[in-house]
């Protein structure tokens, strides 16, 4: 199976590894070869340590040969978004201010994946401190969309989306604060899931907005995403907002969903997210693909009805107050005292001046904009009008979800109002950039789980379908996503991502 290793699903790799049909070193080398060949142009990775990857792959192979009991993920390679703290492995969160920092500890999810025997291929590019929707805010490099290399791969987890869609990793961990897993997944034809807030430990994720950040899987199939999600979920005493409940059964939900039986399921289509009277900024192609997918769900037995969630209209302003406010505080620790960059310490300047120069040169423009905005929103005299008000709007959004759950099992919408746009098109217009998150923000603010699953192409570029579920009902997202994925794959006779491979073959 060597020729197809880098397009094989992680679930199939896992099976082959367990059966002994494949060695971890083989699959790891296959990916490293692809990275060596293609990442120069794609720009998905910030850090790759080929030697370390092969060494850990060989260790898994040796353990397997010795008859050791290994988990299902043992030997499967993996990429981590560079926001994930990894012991001894450079971690920058896409920022100059952390250039060269080698953390002395592992994030909880990194430790879990390490213990599961996964092989770390490298750390992927991202918008600086996860602030962005295009990965153009990385301090290091631009990442290209494998579907059209003149376009952005989404963001902030754009390195992860480009790597997985481009065949440079079988799957990856991303983080989602306002849509940073779902939107890049949508724009590259992947499955990306933002778990219920608190169900995956945030310990060791470089914080952007503490009350919103969640890590989750980005994968080529719904089943892969479920398997990776199960590997990182669970209570963690190091994260006080971590929910103490059993790890959800997700892979099973995905397998069951793939059977395509949705009778008894009620699907709510959110009017405020691309519905009647709310189509401004939505591309026709996106709305068409979305409607077709809704019809497909209906054809599988789901009952579909429209649901109105009026407070969702305020999700964008609320989010762009809450996230920058928390970020302004979370990023205060980057002061050049204990780690990372220090600028201007030549004996002529005092500490305040050195701190201000360090932060001025260590942070990019978007980060600085948000720090200033957040500092403003938290200031005495403005707190109630901005941060306080936004937190109340958050309650209204949560109430809209809660009342929707009285009538429907899941809510659906497009993941992104548009397909991937051209590199550079929105860099000077923060408002246009922020609009990319329109559909993903409500679930972020309410902390409920949401998945993006591909629902076809528009102008040759992937469109994502978002499924939102009540808190802790992540399994519903996987079930419905798997049903949709299976029905579409069956209809077209192949996976959507296969069309990317075909496209590349035509191109070369």
């Amino acid at each position: 199976m060597s020729a197809d290793l880098t397009t094989t699903s992680a679930a199939d790799l896992s099976r082959a590894l367990q059966a002994g049909d494949l060695s971890s070193a083989e699959v790891t080398r296959a990916y490293l070869d692809r990275i060596a060949a293609d990442d120069g142009e794609l720009g998905a990775y910030l850090h790759v340590d080929a030697e370390a990857a092969v060494t850990s792959a060989e260790a898994v192979d040796a353990a397997r040969a010795a008859g050791e009991e290994l988990g299902p993920l043992a030997g499967v390679p993996l990429a981590l978004k560079d926001v994930v703290v990894t012991a001894g492995v450079p971690t920058t969160s896409g920022s100059r201010i952390l250039e060269g920092w080698r953390p002395p500890y592992d994030a909880t999810l990194a430790a879990k994946l390490k213990a599961a025997g996964t092989v770390l291929l490298g750390k992927t590019n991202m918008d600086e401190f996860a602030m962005g929707s295009s990965t153009e805010n990385s301090a290091y490099q631009v990442t290209r969309n494998p579907w059209d290399r003149d376009r952005i791969p989404g963001g902030s987890s754009g390195g992860s989306s480009a790597a997985v869609a481009g065949g440079l990793a079988p799957w990856s961990i991303g983080t989602d604060t306002g849509g940073s897993i779902r939107q890049p997944a949508a724009l590259t034809g992947l499955v990306g899931h933002k778990p219920t807030y608190g169900s995956v430990s945030r310990y060791g994720l470089v914080a952007f907005s503490s009350s919103l950040d969640q890590a989750g899987p980005m994968a080529r199939t719904v089943l892969d995403a479920a398997l990776l999600h199960e590997a990182i979920a669970g209570h963690d005493a190091h994260d006080s907002t971590s929910i103490d409940c059993p790890v959800p059964v997700l892979a099973e939900a995905a397998r069951r969903g793939a059977e395509g039986e949705l009778a008894g399921l009620t699907v709510g289509v959110v009017r405020e997210l691309g519905g009647e009277g709310h189509t401004d900024g939505y591309e026709d192609g996106v709305l068409d693909r979305f409607s077709a997918a809704v019809a497909l769900l209906e054809s599988m037995g789901a009952e579909v009805r429209e649901v109105s969630c009026p407070a969702f209209d305020l999700a964008l302003p609320a989010y762009y107050l809450i996230a920058p406010s928390e970020a302004s505080s979370n990023l205060a620790r980057f002061d050049g005292v204990r780690y990372g960059l220090r600028v201007g310490d030549d004996g002529s300047r005092d500490l305040d001046e050195v701190m201000a120069l360090t932060r001025e040169q260590g942070f990019g423009p978007e980060v600085k904009r948000r720090i200033i905005l957040g500092t403003y929103a938290l200031s005495a005299g403005y707190y109630d009008a901005y941060y306080g008000q936004a937190q109340k709007v958050r309650t209204l959004i949560t109430r809209d979800f809660t009342s929707a759950w009285d009538d429907v099992d899941v809510l659906v919408s497009p993941t992104s109002p548009t397909v991937a746009w051209s590199i550079g098109a929105r860099v000077d217009d923060p408002i246009a950039m922020y609009a990319a998150d329109l559909c993903t923000l409500p679930a972020s603010l309410a902390g409920v789980p949401a998945i993006s699953v591909p629902c076809g192409l528009s102008e040759g570029l992937p469109v994502g379908f978002q499924i939102m579920a009540p808190a802790l009902a992540d399994d519903r997202c996987y079930r419905v996503a798997a049903a949709l994925e299976a029905a579409q794959d069956a209809a077209r006779g192949h996976r959507l991502l296969d069309e990317l491979g075909a496209k590349e073959n035509t191109a070369s």
Binding site: P103, P104, S240, T241, S329, Y339, D352, L378, S379
Partner: protein, 500 residues
Amino acid sequence: MSTDTLVEYGELLTRYEPVIGLETHVELGTASKMFCGCSTTFGAEPNTQTCPVCLGLPGSLPAANAAAIEATIRIGLALGCRIATWSRFARKNYFYPDIPKGFQTSQYDEPLCTAGHLDVEVEGETYRVEIERVHLEEDTGKNLHVGGSTGRIHGADHSLVDYNRAGIPLVEIVTRPIPGAGAKAPEVAKAYVTELREILLALGVSEVRMEQGNLRCDVNTSLAPIGSLEWGTRTETKNVNSLRSVERSVRFEMRRQAAVLDAAERVVQETRHFHEDTGSTSSGRSKEEATDYRYFPEPDLVPIAPDEAWVEELRAGLPELPAARRTRLSDEWGISPTEMAWLVNAGAVELVSDTVAAGASPGDARKWWLGELARRANDAGTDLTELAVTPAQVAELIGLISAGTINDQLARQALDGVLAGEGDPSAVVEARGLAVMGDSDELVAAVDAAIEGNPDVADKVRGGKVQAIGALVGAVMKTTRGKADAATVKRMLEERLISS
């Protein structure tokens, strides 16, 4: 250092009335820090008690220490506070190298405890100090200033930071303004901190060693003309770190502010620093702008919502508090409040109590701790508690005296041995041969020798001048080097010279 003009204390009181207020920070004596598992042991090598959390490394998150939260609630209960049913941590955002996250995790508008009080006594009068709030936060690291002549920040070339202290749980206890203390304001301030310290010790929540910075006071002082309806502008004297300094700093600020007001100038609202050496305060150079701390609820921690069962459980577990204990002990020991006040001032209440518990009579225990032992402590320049003798040993010493094994003079010699680390009193008495002689042959010989050696005196006694017997007793005591019991010696001499 100070060029301030000062007004005589007695004089200023004829024109001005003070209002004081105190913010007291107490480092809790938990095993681990507030939000991580690092040890809190004092005096460790720099930066050896740190981890990703208390260093503020990217990605790290806080996990609140249950013991610190319970200790804070217990302090609140001991101060008669209302315990919040909903309380949150908040971020206090500012930049300083000793705070590793760029914010201090503290509490803002939702503290754990509010609205309590503490009654303190000064010279027989009781003053009620209202407590505004008790909240929980984390301590900062320590900056060491290098290159300046004085180790102070001014003129320093650079600074060095040690984060061992960063993250140690810190309870802040804030009083409401205390008016009406008049001339006693400095003493009331000191009495408040003293009583607070006693309570914290009784609760066992902190070692409260002021010299180690376990308890640090910021003292607010203002003056207003007598009869004025408005309070004056206050200054905040930071880091007043001994009981005596609390009193001195208030007294100094009152004298300084009186001079400012006398000159028809305005007192500047500012932070001031207390100098132990001169007993004066100096301006802390107020910052160019008021800092905007941008408080907001800490999103990495969830609210603390103490329910009634939890609070009542903590209340039930409170020890007897110092004031109640003092009243009870006064009754049990049959002493007056004034006598109890002496014991409190000497820091001897617990020592006497423990000595009584070890079998001594209250009178003897008080006599030894306030007398001989207080003298020893004074000579050594230490507190009573730091003397190398335990209440049990003192009780044993007293027991030896009561049994007649030793007398007071021998007991002092025995105490020398105990303090020198020679063991318990009976062991020292044995080893040093300090026991009083009974009707031993040695004593009989010494008595006989005294009569033989002083025939004139003996004759006087025989002749009826009974009071002359003292000289013979003295002679016996001299030859026995104090080991004889004077009463016994006198009886033996009388038997020989009078009865026969």
